[in-house]
């Protein structure tokens, strides 16, 4: 490996023994051994929360969204806040799996599979909210999708809400295919390690008969590159379109051209914080510390600072434009955000998203997981509050002061929010238990390449 002084040197991808058979054993260990007590505790807790989600969904379906705190003018309460939050969480997964793949960042191999899984589970959580927000989700199929129905009316393709349906469902499908394609060779590895016939049969079924043939690899690599190339503009489009839900409307506080880049940066920021948070727990729970090293967490910390600065810039520009526009309504909305009844949410958001991440400038903070963990939790809180601020403060004081009304979430709102975290962590825990959480074949490839950089591979 070249040691150019003054340039960033790639860190070792694996600490300790990098023999391939050892890597297989380490990565497959959570799949091949009975889960630990820690896993069970985490699983039961998050499973209970997920059941609570089911309960709150049942309440919503049985009694209607009158059980929520939404009112007129605040028609978009927690549901849309949660939707935007969860979609955003997913974006870091695609950044790591697609964009960093195109940029040939080898360190991503340690965290990419996990981040991709997070994307899929986050989109599942996100998808629940607009669906139940329609009020009658059992009729939503033909409200949301262009399906033939007895009214003969089609959905409105001029509406960003309709674009959103296409964007999110495409995002989910493409992320799932991308993830599964990446899993194929690793599932074959697990299949070939299996001794029990049932385990062999299940992983054999999932790996679709992968043989690692060179001809198959040639197609595989081409397909993988294509998926990365497709997912990159897709992920930018998804949160841009989510931001259109707001910015295409004529509401001050929403009607802003900075929204698409601001939302995409915020999404990646919150997603990276969630990746870091889950990885810190997961690497300990499954004893993967030598594969997901402190270096990996440190790189995530650096990316978090970068995206935090982008988000801070967007906050500053929003405030500046509110003043510079000369529009009395825009100025009012901005002042109302910062000093109105929801000022607490605004200032917690500023503290969590602008101030705390700056600690990651300090190397010792980035490398100390006891410091990283609380900061990334704060970022998640801050990013959830950001969406809350955007949704609620823009709505609760609209054009006619006689219409002004405060928004107060109910226990069902809180239950759905907490429950969605339960569902997310349950799925994540099951994933780590049953599927290889680190890309085995890609890690091997990256190890070979960094070992022989500049050598035989230039055929």
């Amino acid at each position: 490996m070249s040691d150019t002084p003054g340039r960033l040197r790639p860190f070792p991808l694996v600490e300790g023994d990098a023999a391939f058979a050892r890597l297989d054993a380490d990565i497959s260990r959570p799949l091949e051994s009975f889960p630990t007590a820690r896993w069970w505790i985490a699983f039961i807790l998050s499973g209970l929360l997920a059941l609570y989600l089911l309960f709150c969904l049942a309440v919503t379906v049985l009694y209607g969204i009158g059980t929520w705190g939404v009112n007129i003018p605040v028609g978009w309460g927690f549901a849309i806040t949660n939707f935007v939050f969860w979609i955003g969480i997913g974006h870091a997964g695609t950044l790591i799996s697609a964009i960093l793949y195109l940029l040939r960042q080898r360190w991503r191999t340690g965290v990419s599979r996990f981040a991709e899984a997070m994307t899929i589970f986050a989109v599942i959580c996100a998808g629940i909210f607009p669906l139940i927000h329609t009020g009658r989700p059992w009729l939503a199929w033909y409200w949301l999708f262009p399906l033939p129905n007895q009214n003969h009316v089609w959905i409105n393709f001029r509406s960003p809400l309709c674009w959103d349906i296409f964007a999110v469902s495409t995002y989910f499908t493409v992320s799932l295919l991308f993830w599964y394609t990446g899993l194929l060779p690793d599932l074959a590895t697990v299949r070939d390690r299996a001794r029990h016939p049932l385990r062999k049969a299940i992983y054999g079924l999932l790996s679709l008969g992968w043989t690692g043939s060179a001809r198959a690899w040639a197609h595989y690599e081409s397909a993988y590159l294509l998926f990365a190339g497709l997912a990159t503009p897709l992920v930018l489009s998804v949160h841009s379109i989510v931001s259109f839900d707001f910015s295409v409307s004529v509401l001050p506080g929403w009607h802003s051209t900075i929204f698409p880049p601001y939302f995409v940066a915020g999404a990646i920021f919150s997603g990276l914080a969630m990746v870091a948070m889950c990885l810190i727990v997961m690497r300990r729970m499954f004893r993967l510390q030598r594969l997901i090293t402190t270096n990996h967490v440190e790189v995530l910390g650096k990316l978090i600072v970068v995206t935090a600065l982008m988000v801070s810039y967007a906050y500053a520009i929003e405030a500046f434009i509110a003043w510079y526009s000369g529009s009395a309504v825009e100025r009012f909305v901005m002042m109302n955000r910062a000093f109105g009844p929801y000022a607490w949410a605004f200032w917690i958001m500023i503290a969590c998203n602008v101030a705390f991440p700056q600690l990651f400038w300090i190397r010792r903070v980035r490398r100390n997981l006891w410091c990283v963990f609380p900061i990334v939790v704060f970022v998640n809180v801050g990013m959830w509050l950001e969406r809350f601020v955007i949704v609620v403060t823009s709505l609760h004081r609209d054009f006619i002061p006689s219409m002004w009304r405060m928004y107060a979430p109910t226990w069902v709102d809180y239950g759905l929010l907490l429950g969605s975290f339960g569902l997310f962590f349950t799925l994540l825990l099951l994933f780590c238990r049953f599927l290889p959480a680190i890309t085995i074949s890609e890690l091997k490839n990256a190890l070979v390449q960094s070992r022989d950089a500049g050598g035989w591979r230039h055929d």
Binding site: D24, W154, R158, T170, V174, P185, T211, A216, F227, D459
Partner: protein, 190 residues
Amino acid sequence: MTERDRPLGIVGLLEDPEALVRAARKVRDAGWRRWDCHTPHPVHGLETAMGIKGSVIPYIAIVAALFGAAFGKAMQWWMSAWDFPLIIGGTPLFAIPAFAPVAFETFVLFAALATFAALLVLCRLLRWHSPLHDARVMHRVTSDRYAIFLDASDKRFSEPEGRRLLAECGCSEIYVAHCADERETAPRGD
């Protein structure tokens, strides 16, 4: 010699990818047609060394993508401007800019679905079973070995010839794979 004992081919195992690329070049130059390499990860330079042409998946994907975009636009035109024309917000019935996001999404969706379908077909996945699974070839090559497999159906195939070639390539282990290696040790009903 029963059907079960018919040799499937000869397998040679190597320990590092660099040696595999050299070996693949040798087998290619020796004029073999029906042979393959099996590796735990994609090995760069192996395609050229084996004389494999580039994948056709990108061409399939671009055709599907363009079809998807056209489909997206056409669907929106048919639904909004033809089947049930409805003026919304004073925009034209066929509002091209407003129909761009959905067309973009169908562009990506069709490309991704086609890429995945092409991958399944071209890699011969979904067959679930390859005789190599039974022949104990797989156990090492999804872990830490690089295999060259000379198929018995190649017209220049003969056991001593294959063994000689693989030994020349520097294979550490060489053995003949039979159709039913696995079945003899662990009988299964099929």
